[in-house]
Symmetry: C2
């Protein structure tokens, strides 16, 4: 699905963020050890790294320095990883498989998984406080954007709506509101963080990018719902069909599989239109958006 050039970039960037995360995560040699092991287990060798990739691609818009982008990319991935560890806990989704491996609580016990998630969230903010080659005021903005995207007004709030909606047939507007916060907020934050690392964009470009981020976040979620139905567990590396089993509201449940696919493609088109005010410096972001919606896992 991805062009050879995009594939190469994604692979190289994925290997690079892996090294960055490895360096920023605490060493297992530090006491107590088990916590650090659980944190590293939750983060390393896993996932598509979609959020770091968005940070890097957005960083190209403002020629951002690599060292600053690395910290921004690590921060969003650490927030994402913490949310997965807590989501998988028995009191939430009670899932035993993630990225083809036993989930953190299966491997380390519930209490340690809880603490590991907590400490990963803390580390995300810490990493931004030591982002190199940045003005303190821009660093503060990054911290603010990440906190807003992660907290009650963002990801955690979206998860709470999700919790309250099990077995409820949400209308499309509320479903989109939930996803805009649950996954869209952090995807949009990834793009904003990448931009904050570089030179300032024009107001028109900032608006265009915000529209792009909103549509892409939604398209990404619709694509996820489609994959949950259309792909199998081995391909996904996580339990397939679990949303339907859990009686959770999804786009596929709302509009059917084919309609959901068409809707994802439509949202992607709208996202790409919003990038028209950019030149070739947005090419990577355009390609990455296309890939993220048409991916097969």
């Amino acid at each position: 699905m991805a062009s050879p050039e995009l594939s190469r970039w994604m692979q190289a960037s994925g290997q690079h963020i892996e090294q960055v995360l490895d360096r920023l995560l605490p060493s297992v040699a530090e006491a107590p050890g088990t916590l650090q092991q659980a944190m590293r287990y939750a983060v390393l060798q896993g996932g598509k790294r979609m959020r770091p990739l968005l940070v890097y691609a957005a960083g190209e818009l403002g020629q951002a320095p690599q060292a600053a982008l690395d910290h921004a990319a690590a921060a969003v991935e650490l927030i994402h990883a913490y949310s997965l560890v807590h989501d998988d806990l028995p009191c939430m989704d009670n899932d035993v498989l993630r990225r083809g491996k036993p989930t953190v609580h299966v491997q380390f016990g519930e209490a340690m998984a809880l603490l590991a998630g907590d400490a990963l969230q803390t580390l995300a903010f810490e990493v931004l406080t030591i982002a190199p080659e940045m003005k303190p005021s821009a660093q503060l903005q990054m911290l603010h954007v990440l906190a807003q995207a992660s907290g009650a007004a963002g990801m955690a709030g979206g998860q709470a709506i999700d919790l309250d909606s099990v077995g409820v047939a949400l209308p499309q507007a509320q479903l989109e509101q939930m996803h805009a916060r649950k996954t869209g907020a952090l995807l949009a934050a990834s793009i904003r963080l990448g931009v904050l690392c570089g030179t300032e964009l024009s107001p028109q470009q900032q608006v265009g990018l915000a529209v792009f981020a909103r549509h892409l976040g939604l398209a990404f979620q619709v694509a996820d719902d489609v994959l949950d139905v259309a792909a199998d567990t081995a391909t996904l590396g996580k339990t397939a069909g679990k949303d339907a089993q859990a009686n959770k509201p999804t786009y596929v449940a709302l509009m059917g599989l084919e309609e959901a696919r068409a809707y994802a493609a439509h949202l992607l088109q709208q996202a790409l239109q919003a990038l028209e005010c950019f030149g070739p410096e947005a090419e990577r972001l355009r390609q990455l958006a296309g890939y993220s919606v048409h991916r097969t896992y």
Copy 2:
């Protein structure tokens, strides 16, 4: 135990931080509602507010502006509150009573309590990103100090050692190492945040304050262990004797009740000595330290 003047100040400061927290916490009118309710339930109308009091008292050393101190005080209390919500969960201490009320998971369910704790941690960092009347570089330092005190190198790391130590007779050095991180780190951070809000201290004063914070944190913990044995549930507002029941290592278990009391008093003396390089501007901090070790709940 507290002088009438200290009592009045503690009461006024306690009412003040309550209003600050009320203003900074999300409104229950915001969707999803339940999450915001759980967050407010976990934070408001509760606790001794020892950490905010330390922020305010330390702020007097550098004539810090009230508005900045308010955000620093709220941030440390939000971290403390999040840690209590997660500590009380069934997979951790499984406690049903906190500050005389049912714990958050008893009231709102486990999943919502997990999310509320998560969102409270996020809010702590967000609140510092919008602290008024501060230089961005000092704000960044506050964020860094709070993150270090809360994460794997601080509070979460101390809790992980605690988890791994149930049923183990820890030697005193390791017990102190655990407490230095589990509770000491955030108490010390409270003092540092209060100082960061004001004018810079001399290097000698900074060293003195760090020694004060370390000894006070330990004294506070020894006093807590004593109270866990010596006070009853009604006075504490939380389940008394639960450390002993859970077979957790405590100072009382290690050295006996009277020895532990004497040790707390000795640590307090060492803490106060370290403040000798300060004049009357440290009087509140001295009094608060004395109160926190000799308190009865």
